[in-house]
C-alpha cells in the first residue's frame, strides 16, 4: 500500500492521459476532457502532498528510481499546482482559437506534466533522462500549435536545439555511468573512481540542463520559441518546465561530492554572471513583448543559478522558493498575455498594448503585476525571491556575483517599465470590445495574483515547507 501511494501521482496522471486518448478515439468531440485533465492534475498534486516526504519505497524495482525526500515533497505538488494554473489559461485559449484536436492536446499536456513530476522526483539518471524527454516531446507539438509560419519556426527551432541538447545530455549521463559505475545520481557524484570521466559527463549534463533552462550562452532559442508559441504554452514553458528542470538541477547539485565541487563552481559562476548580463542586455533591445519575456526569463534563471551555486552555504531553500516565485511571475505575465489575445489581432508589440490597461483591466492587470514582480518590486513574490537569492549569494561569499546581479536587475528596470507605460500611460488606438472573462480566466487571474502577492507578503508558509 505504501509504495502504491508513492507512485499514485504518476499513475493518476497516466490514467488521465489514457482517458484523454480513449475518449478522443471513441467520440468525435469529447466533452469533459478539460475536466478529466483538471481532475487528474489536481488529484495528483493532492496525493503527492499526502504521500511525500516518506520512507524509501519497499519495492526493489522502485527503490533506486524514486526519491522520496523533501525535495520531491516540495516540487511534486508545486509542479501540479503550476500545471493547474497553466491549464486555466490553456483551456480558454484552445476554446477561443477553436482547435480541432483537443483530446490529443490535453493528453500531451498531461504527458509533459508527468515528465516534470518524474524529473523532479527521480533519483537516478534514467529517471532524470526519462522525465526530461517526457517533458520535452509533447512541447515540440504544443509549441507548434499556431498555424502561421511563426509557430512552425518556433517548433522546429525548439525541436532541433532540444534534440541536440538531449543527445549531449544522454551522452553525459553515459559518461557519468562509465566513470562511476552507478546510475544513482547521488552515488555517482559522491566520490567516483573515474573522476575525470564523471566530470566531463557532468559538464555535458549541465550543458543540456542549461539549454532547457535557457542559460546563456544556450539561451538564444528562448525568445523565438516564446514568440512563436501560443501564450499559454509559453507560460507552461517558463513556469512548469523551468520549475521541474530547476528541481532536477538542484538535486544534481545537492548530491555533488566535495571532489567535484571545485571544478563546478567556476562553471556555475560563469554561467550565472554571463546569463544575467547577456540576457538582460538583450532584453533591452526587444520590441516584441514575448521575446522580451523570453530573455527576461533567461535572466532570471541566472539569478536562480546564484542560489544554486550557494546551496552548500545557504541550503536549497532560496532556489526552491525562487523556482516557485519565478514560475508564478512568468505564469502571470504569459497568462495575462494569453487572456489579452482574444484571437482578433495579436497582442505582442508595445504598440498593441496601448491603452489595454483601461479597456481590459483584469487581463492587463495580471500582465502588469507579473511584470512588476519580475522587476522585483515589493510586495510581490519577485521581491522576496530576489532577497533570498542575494542573501544566499552573500552568505556564499560571492559578493561580486551579487554586484553583477544587482547590475542586471538595474538594467532590467528599463525594459519592464516600457510595457507598463504602454499599458497604462498611453491612449489606446481603436476602442476594443469590453472585457469578458471566462470563469476559468477569472479564477486564474484571482489565483495567480493571490500567489504573486502572497509569496511576497507572507512567504513564511512556503518557507516552512523547505527543509
Amino acid at each position: 500500500m505504501h509504495d502504491i501511494l508513492l507512485f499514485a501521482p504518476h499513475l493518476l496522471l497516466t490514467l488521465g492521459i489514457l482517458l484523454c486518448f480513449v475518449l478522443g478515439t471513441l467520440f468525435k468531440r469529447p466533452a469533459g476532457l478539460y475536466g478529466v485533465t483538471f481532475a487528474s492534475t489536481l488529484l495528483a498534486g493532492a496525493l503527492g502532498m499526502a504521500a511525500y516526504p516518506s520512507e524509501a519505497p519497499l519495492l526493489p524495482a522502485l527503490k533506486p528510481f524514486l526519491a522520496t525526500d523533501a525535495l520531491t515533497a516540495y516540487f511534486l505538488p508545486l509542479i501540479c499546482a503550476l500545471g493547474l494554473g497553466v491549464l486555466l489559461f490553456f483551456g480558454g485559449e484552445l476554446k477561443r482559437k477553436g482547435h480541432k484536436h483537443d483530446d490529443e492536446l490535453y493528453a500531451l499536456f498531461l504527458i509533459a506534466l508527468l515528465g516534470g513530476v518524474i524529473l523532479a522526483g527521480g533519483r537516478n539518471w534514467l529517471a532524470f533522462f526519462l522525465g526530461l524527454e517526457l517533458l520535452s516531446l509533447p512541447l515540440y507539438i504544443l509549441i507548434g500549435l499556431r498555424k502561421d509560419s511563426g509557430g512552425t519556426e518556433a517548433s522546429v527551432k525548439y525541436f532541433v536545439m532540444g534534440a541536440t541538447a538531449s543527445g549531449i545530455l544522454l551522452f553525459g549521463t553515459g559518461l557519468i555511468y562509465a566513470g562511476s559505475g552507478s546510475l544513482d545520481i547521488a552515488h555517482s557524484l559522491r566520490a567516483p573512481e573515474g573522476g575525470g570521466t564523471v566530470l566531463v559527463g557532468l559538464a555535458m549534463v549541465l550543458a543540456g540542463v542549461a539549454f532547457k533552462l535557457s542559460l546563456a550562452p544556450f539561451h538564444l532559442w528562448a525568445p523565438d520559441v516564446y514568440r512563436g508559441a501560443p501564450a499559454s504554452v509559453a507560460a507552461l514553458l517558463t513556469s512548469m518546465v523551468k520549475a521541474a528542470v530547476g528541481g532536477g538541477l538542484l538535486r544534481i547539485v545537492l548530491d555533488l561530492g566535495p571532489d567535484l565541487w571545485p571544478a563546478t563552481v567556476p562553471v556555475l559562476w560563469g554561467l550565472a554572471a554571463l546569463t544575467m548580463l547577456a540576457a538582460n542586455l538583450a532584453a533591452l533591445a526587444q520590441d516584441s513583448l514575448k521575446r522580451m519575456l523570453g530573455f527576461s526569463s533567461a535572466a532570471h534563471m541566472g539569478y536562480l543559478l546564484m542560489g544554486v551555486l550557494c546551496v552548500n552555504q545557504a541550503g536549497p531553500g532560496p532556489v526552491m522558493f525562487y523556482a516557485a516565485a519565478l514560475a508564478v511571475m512568468d505564469l502571470a505575465a504569459f497568462g495575462g498575455l494569453s487572456l489579452l489575445d482574444d484571437g482578433t489581432e495579436p497582442v505582442d508589440t508595445l504598440a498593441s498594448l496601448r491603452g489595454l490597461g483601461r479597456s481590459r483591466p483584469w487581463a492587463a492587470g495580471l500582465l502588469a503585476a507579473g511584470l512588476a514582480a519580475l522587476a522585483g518590486l515589493p510586495p510581490t513574490a519577485g521581491f522576496t525571491g530576489k532577497l533570498l537569492l542575494f542573501r544566499a549569494t552573500i552568505m556564499g561569499g560571492y559578493n561580486w556575483l551579487g554586484v553583477i546581479g544587482i547590475l542586471g536587475a538595474a538594467l532590467s528596470v528599463f525594459y519592464y517599465l516600457r510595457p507598463l507605460v504602454a499599458l497604462y500611460l498611453r491612449e489606446g488606438g481603436a476602442p476594443s470590445l469590453p472585457e469578458r472573462l471566462t470563469v476559468a480566466g477569472g479564477v486564474a487571474v484571482f489565483l495567480v495574483l493571490l500567489a504573486l502577492v502572497g509569496l511576497g507578503v507572507a512567504p513564511s508558509p512556503v518557507l516552512q515547507l523547505i527543509p
Partner: protein
C-alpha cells in the same frame, strides 16, 4: 509598549483601503471622490487622536514576527519625529484631494486610489523599524507616484515618470544589496539591533554609500536631483504637493533615522562632503530657479534649494541645527506645497504656467494675490513665519560646526529672495501679461480659500509658536544626536 488595537497598522492601511474602496465606484466619480476624501479625513482624525498617546507614551510600538526564518519582524514604532511627519502626510493627503477636486476629471477613482496608496507607503516609511520592512515601503512608494505622474500629469508626463522611476529604482538597488548584507551580519534586522553593533571596517563605507545613494536620490542631493524638476513640473498639482511634502521628506527622514545611526563612522567621515553637496545644491538650484520661465519649474528648483539647505543642516549634525532641519521639513512641505497648489490654480484657469503670460494679477484676483504674497515671503524666510524658524535654527546650529559653510548658506538664502521676487513679479505684481486681462482671471472660490487658509494657518502657527512642534521632536532628536536609535 503594546496596545490592543494595532493603531499604527491602521494608520498605514487606512488610506490604501479607502482608495481601494473608492476604486469600486469607478463609474461614479463623485462617490469615489467622496469616499476617498472621507478616508483621508479619517486618517487625519486618527493621526490627531494619536497625539495624546504619543505625548503620553513617547513611543508607540507594534511588533510581531513576520518571516521568522530571516529573523524579520513586522516592527513599527512612532515617536515624536515620526508623528510630526505622519501628521503632515495625513494633512497633505486631505489637502491634495481637495486640490484635485476640479483638476482631475477623468479616471477619478484611479487617481484618488493612487494618491491614497502613496500616503500609505510614505507613512509606512516613517513608521517602519525593521530594515526589510523599511526597504519594502521605501520601494513601494515608487509605484503609485509613477502612475500619478505618468497618467495624470502634463505634456511630458511619460518622460518625467520614467525618469523618476529609473532614478529611484536604480538608486535603490545597491541599497538592497546592503540591506541583505546587514541582515546577514546582525542577529535580527531591526533598527535597534543593527545600530547597537555598527558594521565594522571598510564594509561600513560600502553599505553607507549604498544607503546614502538611495536617500540622496529622493532628497534630492545635487548630482542626482535631475529627475525632480521634471517630475514636479509634469505631475498633477496634488502629485507635486505629495512629492514636495512627503516623498522628499522620506529621503531626509531616512538619512536621519537610518543612515546616521547605522553607519556612524562612515557618515562622520563623509559628512563634510555631503554638507558641501547640500550647499552646492542650495546655490545651484537657487541660481537655476531664477532662469526659469515656467512657474512650476521655478517652484520645483526652489524646492531643491531648500532641500539642499536641509541636507547641509543634517550633516552638520548639531543638535539645534537638527531641530531646525525638522522644522524646515515641515515648513518646506507647507510653503512649497502651497506654492505648487497656487501655480496649479493658475494653470487650471489659464492653461499656462509661463511667467511671461501673467503679471499684475493682483488687481484682478486680490485674494489670490494676498495668498501668493504670503507664501512667497514665507518661502523666502520672513520672520514670524515657519521657514524663518527653521532657517534661523539651522544657521545657529550649523555655524558652530561649519562656520564658513553656514555663512555661505546665509548668502544662499539671500539668493533665494531673488527668485521669490521673480515669481511675484511674474504673477501678481509687475506689468499685466497677455493672459491677465482675459476673462479667466476669476478670483478664488470657497474651496480654494479653504485649502490655502489651512496652509497659511499652519505656516503662521509654526512661525509664531514653534514650541509644541519642537517639544514633540526634542526627545527623539536627543536620542538620535546621542547616537542611539529608537
Amino acid at each position: 509598549m503594546m496596545h490592543d488595537f494595532p493603531l499604527l497598522t491602521a494608520l498605514i492601511l487606512l488610506p490604501l483601503l479607502g482608495g481601494l474602496a473608492g476604486l469600486f465606484f469607478h463609474r461614479q466619480p463623485a462617490q469615489a471622490r467622496f469616499i476617498c476624501l472621507v478616508a483621508a479625513l479619517a486618517e487625519l482624525a486618527l493621526a490627531l487622536v494619536l497625539l495624546p498617546k504619543v505625548l503620553d507614551a513617547r513611543v508607540l510600538v507594534e511588533r510581531f514576527d513576520w518571516i521568522p526564518l530571516l529573523h524579520v519582524q513586522y516592527s513599527l514604532a512612532m515617536d515624536g519625529l515620526s508623528y510630526v511627519l505622519v501628521l503632515l502626510t495625513a494633512l497633505l493627503g486631505v489637502l491634495g484631494i481637495l486640490t484635485s477636486w476640479r483638476e482631475i476629471r477623468e479616471g477619478v477613482a484611479v487617481f484618488h486610489c493612487l494618491l491614497l496608496a502613496a500616503l500609505s507607503a510614505a507613512i509606512g516609511v516613517f513608521l517602519a523599524r525593521d530594515l526589510l520592512l523599511f526597504y519594502l515601503f521605501w520601494e513601494a512608494q515608487l509605484i503609485p507616484m509613477f502612475f500619478l505622474i505618468g497618467r495624470f500629469g502634463h505634456e511630458r508626463r511619460r518622460y518625467a515618470a520614467l525618469k523618476f522611476f529609473v532614478f529611484s529604482m536604480v538608486g535603490g538597488l545597491p541599497m538592497l544589496l546592503a540591506v541583505v548584507w546587514l541582515m546577514l551580519t546582525g542577529v535580527n534586522p531591526s533598527l535597534a539591533a543593527l545600530a547597537a553593533s555598527p558594521v565594522p571596517g571598510a564594509m561600513q563605507g560600502w553599505c553607507a554609500a549604498a544607503f546614502i545613494l538611495a536617500f540622496a536620490v529622493k532628497t534630492p542631493l545635487l548630482p542626482v536631483h535631475t529627475w525632480l524638476p521634471d517630475a514636479h513640473t509634469q505631475a498633477p498639482t496634488a502629485g507635486s504637493l505629495l512629492l514636495a511634502g512627503v516623498l522628499l521628506k522620506t529621503g531626509a527622514y531616512a538619512m536621519l533615522r537610518w543612515a546616521i545611526p547605522l553607519f556612524p563612522h562612515a557618515v562622520a567621515q563623509a559628512a563634510p562632503w555631503l554638507a558641501g553637496l547640500g550647499l552646492a545644491g542650495l546655490f545651484y538650484a537657487s541660481w537655476t530657479a531664477m532662469a526659469q520661465q515656467d512657474a512650476k519649474r521655478l517652484v520645483a528648483y526652489s524646492s531643491v534649494a531648500h532641500m539642499g539647505l536641509l541636507t547641509f543642516a543634517l550633516f552638520a549634525f548639531d543638535r539645534t541645527g537638527l531641530s531646525g532641519a525638522v522644522v524646515m521639513m515641515v515648513s518646506h512641505a507647507l510653503t512649497t506645497g502651497a506654492l505648487f497648489v497656487m501655480v496649479g490654480m493658475l494653470a487650471e484657469r489659464f492653461h499656462s504656467r509661463r511667467l511671461s503670460d501673467f503679471g499684475g494679477l493682483w488687481g484682478k484676483m486680490p485674494v489670490y494675490g494676498a495668498f501668493m504674497l504670503f507664501f512667497a515671503v514665507a518661502s523666502a524666510g520672513l520672520p514670524g513665519l515657519s521657514n524663518f524658524v527653521g532657517e534661523l535654527m539651522i544657521m545657529l546650529g550649523s555655524f558652530k560646526v561649519y562656520p564658513v559653510g553656514a555663512s555661505l548658506a546665509f548668502f544662499g538664502i539671500v539668493v533665494g529672495l531673488a527668485y521669490v521676487l521673480r515669481l511675484l513679479r511674474g504673477t501678481i505684481l509687475g506689468k499685466p501679461g497677455p493672459l491677465t486681462e482675459s476673462g479667466q482671471a476669476v478670483d478664488l472660490d470657497g474651496r480654494e480659500i479653504l485649502i490655502l487658509s489651512v496652509f497659511a494657518l499652519a505656516v503662521l502657527l509654526i512661525g509664531v509658536h514653534p514650541g509644541p512642534l519642537l517639544d514633540l521632536i526634542r526627545e527623539p532628536l536627543n536620542i538620535l544626536a546621542a547616537g542611539r536609535p529608537i
